[in-house]
């Protein structure tokens, strides 16, 4: 398998009146095609900053990111980004929300419109296409947000704590939901989360970042034994508790 994303010696410094903050230092890791990688770390370790750098929204102060072998210099259609909240626009219908990215990227063609409708149909939202976001439940809204990202056909999905705004039950369910869609659409994904259980349940590998300045502390390969792997079933696998303990120790949290 080839490396879809390669992160080389990434460092990030922020300037402020009170001085300089080193958010990230010498980050190295890669994501293979089709892989699901989670990044966990204590709050404020620069996880989201790292995603912004990979997406090209933010320019790092050191190092390079390669996407499909090409250096990242700005945002591109190769990347799909999912934010903490769904940020569906209340003044647009579900369908209009889904085609937002197509509109901006000037990709609105009969084929892409067809794809948008197909995705809505596949994931049970077709009948809501002319409804407005406030008529949908939190789980459905997050699914619409994922479709909005998928419809531009990105090579990699960057998920920036997309479940953290949901209540616990919805969250477990949406975990399964989003995971199933990502696997079904054969997408590579990089998930940022502070939830250890969530990271293990979804990922093939977990990258653990240290406290600020964030740097890669350890990378764990996640192998869980269950016949039909979904995030929810993964939580019942015998290895789960073990991995959880290991990463928890690695996180080294003190009150």
């Amino acid at each position: 398998m080839n490396h879809l994303v390669e992160v080389h010696n990434i460092g990030m410094k922020y300037q402020s009146l009170n001085g300089e903050i080193t958010a990230l230092e010498d980050i190295n890791f890669s994501v293979q095609d089709g892989e699901f990688v989670s990044i966990v770390g204590p709050s404020g370790c620069g996880k989201s900053t790292l995603l912004s750098i990979i997406s090209g929204l933010l320019v790092s102060t050191a190092g390079t990111v390669l996407l499909g072998g090409e250096k990242v210099t700005g945002t591109s259609g190769k990347v799909g980004y999912m934010l903490q909240k769904d940020h569906l626009f209340n003044w647009r219908t579900i369908y209009q929300n889904v085609i937002l990215g197509l509109e901006i990227r000037k990709m609105l063609t009969p084929e892409t419109k067809e794809r948008a409708l197909r995705l809505l149909k596949t994931y049970g939202l077709y009948e809501f296409k002319n409804k407005y976001p406030n008529q949908l439940s939190g789980g459905m809204r997050q699914r619409v947000a994922l479709i909005r990202t998928l419809v531009t056909d990105p090579q990699i999905l960057l998920l920036d704590e997309p479940f953290s705004a949901l209540d616990y039950q919805t969250r477990l369910m949406v975990n399964d939901d989003i995971y199933a869609i990502i696997k079904k659409e054969n997408k590579t994904a990089l998930l940022v989360t502070h939830d250890i259980a969530e990271s293990i349940s979804m990922a093939d590998r977990v990258v653990l970042l240290s406290k600020r300045p964030g740097t890669v502390k350890q990378i764990y390969a996640i192998k869980v034994n269950c016949a039909n792997r979904t995030p929810l079933y993964s939580r019942e696998a015998p290895e789960f508790r073990h991995l959880f303990q290991e990463i928890w120790k690695g996180l080294d949290v003190h009150v």
Binding site: V79, G80, Y81, H87, G101, G124, L136, D177, A180
Partner: protein
């Protein structure tokens, strides 16, 4: 496999299958509404009647306070002289033009200040000064510069409403969730995309709010302007009536003004209902 079926609660059924308690609740709500309307009408009728009776009984001097029957007579007289709608029309036109141009120009300036943070920082002290300044003080200046006429009155209206509009709308623009802007950027969107796809539609409620404030301010501007320069309009009638001690004329104009300003405000409320259906 995970559940990919839509999970949505069934819509609330609004029809008859409700309990007795619900019917009682609905009836009580309706009763309250009717009571409120009834009392509102009673207050209006009693106030008018008291005014008329007190004036007739010479408890108050109708020469000073006027009275409802004299106001109606004044309206009829103005109508017969053929000047009623001319005065109303001129004032409404000035208020409307001032209102629309103040809102449009204010929105445009707010967009400019939002677009360039640098420009915004440069202009900030000037905005503060103009916002604090009682714009009425500029009245004589406008008359000298523009000439005594409707144009000076409209500029007066603009001066009063513009800065408030700019600040109100700019605050709305700046309060928009940064993550919504980030979403547009993740799709490679430009600043123009951010403006047209997020900032303007998300600010629609703020802009409508600015419109509501502007309705009031436009009338203030028009009346002040007419006090200073005009030869026609409701503000002119008020000043003229005051000078020649025709309080009937003053009261009549004030009441017509109240009705006209309320209608314009209701127009904005109607516009709001039309536009801000799904905004929040």
């Amino acid at each position: 496999m995970s559940n990919l079926e839509p999970e949505i609660s069934p819509p609330m059924t609004r029809t008859s299958a409700f309990s007795q308690e619900h019917k009682v609740y609905l009836r009580r709500l309706k009763m309250e509404k009717q009571w409120i309307l009834f009392i509102q009408v009673v207050i209006f009728v009693v106030a008018i009647a008291l005014w008329e009776i007190c004036a007739n009984a010479k408890i108050v001097d109708p020469f000073i306070t006027s009275q409802p029957s004299r106001i109606i007579k004044t309206i009829i007289r103005l109508y017969e002289e053929g000047v009623l709608f001319q005065h109303i029309g001129i004032t409404c036109l000035e208020a409307f033009v001032g209102f629309v141009s103040g809102t449009l120009l204010g929105t445009l300036i707010a967009i400019g200040l939002w677009w360039s943070k640098f420009l915004c920082k440069i202009l900030e002290p000037y905005l503060v000064v103009f916002n604090s300044l009682p714009k009425i003080a500029l009245g004589p200046v406008f008359i000298v510069w523009i000439g005594a006429g409707p144009a000076a009155i409209i500029v007066m209206t603009l001066a009063i409403s513009l800065i408030v509009t700019v600040l109100e709308i700019l605050n709305g623009f700046l309060a928009i969730d940064a993550e919504k802007i980030k979403l547009i950027q993740t799709f490679g969107g430009t600043k123009l995309h951010i403006l047209t796809l997020v900032v303007l539609p998300a600010s629609l409620p703020t802009i409508i709010n600015a419109l509501k404030i502007n309705v009031g301010l436009s009338w203030v501007g028009v009346i002040v302007g007419e006090f200073l320069v005009s030869k026609a309009g409701l503000g002119y009638l008020i000043v003229y009536g005051g000078q020649v001690f025709k309080l009937d004329l003053v009261m009549t104009s004030v009441i017509i003004l109240g009705v006209a300003a309320t209608l314009m405000y209701q127009g904005v409320v109607f516009l709001e209902k039309l536009l801000v259906k799904n905004n929040l």
